[in-house]
Symmetry: C2
Subunit: 244 residues, 2 copies
């Protein structure tokens, strides 16, 4: 991930301000990810793009034997080590584009809202597969392709209709966040699933989260997720064969 | 499929008029389906919702040992038997909602643009799995969920943006075709994939077809498929395990 915005200290500070309040991720994405977790007791967890390690302790509390968080941002890793360290928890600065540099194998590869920043998805998935024990699980979430499709993420609502463009045109997108250019990569749902299968993953479950009634009562803006999804979540299992 | 429009003789006649000319299916859907066919030599083919058997002979010419076409419309089956019969080709009137009534097992279950008419997808997929030999393939296309999402299929283009509603709300949709009410069932991509996996299919490949340059030169209206897909195509393999 060249020019990672999370390595920019100004951006980092603003991002951390944002994370202080409940946001879309906490409300819609994280609960679904939790539901899809495999049994963790005695399992080793690799967190791909761990940020400041917000969920490190949760994994250990759920019984994981170890947790290793990877992130390409030195600022994130420093904050993680300061705020979310503990027994069997470790962090390492590593770009997910170079996962082959990592030693060892893991039982769960977990990744929350990071994969849309990765340019070479095929390579990423192939590398993750190699870092998993047989039967290991890859559980990840990412920006939904309906959101990443439009150039500059310029999808829009008109009444209860959501309009997008560029879905069929995969590749680089430039968005803005706190006046900072953010690069991500649009991939079609079909490509994401096909790439996983091709590289030896059995796609067990795909989820496009919908807010429940309690959430809607409290956060009316989530109503838009009753129309189009914001996130795509996939749980896949490493199988002893691939479609190669 | 209760109240199947294809069993209505007026609708049937108009549909056949339409099929005389090259259409979206011939241009965009069928070539992709062909590319995804497994080796056919010596294999038995089950065509789910075969219509008038347009591709029956093609399967036999490609080496299939047998072809059985199922359709719930008596008019379609009669036309198929009259126009597309041949050695190792047979047809049977059967509603896909009652696939358990079929005897025998097959190597390929093929279905072109029919599954969006089926109300109970979980039951359909479970039944298909039971009718396949181990390692057998299910290859199907259907209306893309971005098209079936909006109530009454009222998605629309505004310049190069495509607008839809109702994606997250699965269920019955009423559309019109030749002034005839057509019922179909909207399902999210995530549900379609998850249901296949849950019922013992390894989803090998998912395709959202894009027109190539030759097609675009000849049929400018296909440009819209450079923005949003019209079809969803899935190839899945029966595996000796399921996610149950």
């Amino acid at each position: 991930m060249p020019a990672n915005v999370f390595s920019n200290s100004d951006f980092f500070t603003r991002y951390m301000e944002l994370r202080k309040e409940l946001n879309y991720n906490d409300l819609l994405e994280h609960p679904e990810m939790e539901k899809l977790l495999p049994p963790l007791i005695g399992r080793s967890v690799l967190d791909l793009g761990c940020g400041y390690g917000a969920y490190a302790r949760e994994f250990i509390e759920k019984g994981a034997s170890s947790y290793l968080g990877l992130d390409s941002s030195e600022l994130m890793i420093a904050k993680a080590e300061k705020e979310n360290s503990g027994k069997n928890i470790s962090y390492r600065k590593l770009d997910l584009g170079h996962l082959e540099e990592l030693e060892g194998k893991y039982d769960l590869a977990y990744s929350s809202l990071v994969f849309h920043y990765i340019e070479d998805f095929d390579r990423l998935v192939r590398n993750i597969n190699m870092k998993l024990n047989d039967g290991g699980i890859l559980l990840f979430s990412q920006m939904h392709p309906l959101i990443s499709a439009s150039y500059g993420y310029s999808g829009y609502f008109e009444s209860d209709y959501f309009a997008f463009t560029g879905y069929q045109d995969e590749g680089r997108r430039e968005g803005k966040w706190f006046k900072q250019k953010v690069i991500s990569y649009h991939r079609k749902v079909s490509s994401i699933i096909s790439t996983l299968s091709f590289n030896g993953f059995f796609v067990e479950k795909v989820v496009e989260p919908v807010p429940n009634e309690d959430l809607l009562m409290e956060f009316a803006s989530l109503e838009r997720d009753l129309i189009r999804p914001t996130f795509l979540i996939v749980r896949a299992r490493k199988v002893p064969f691939s479609a190669h």
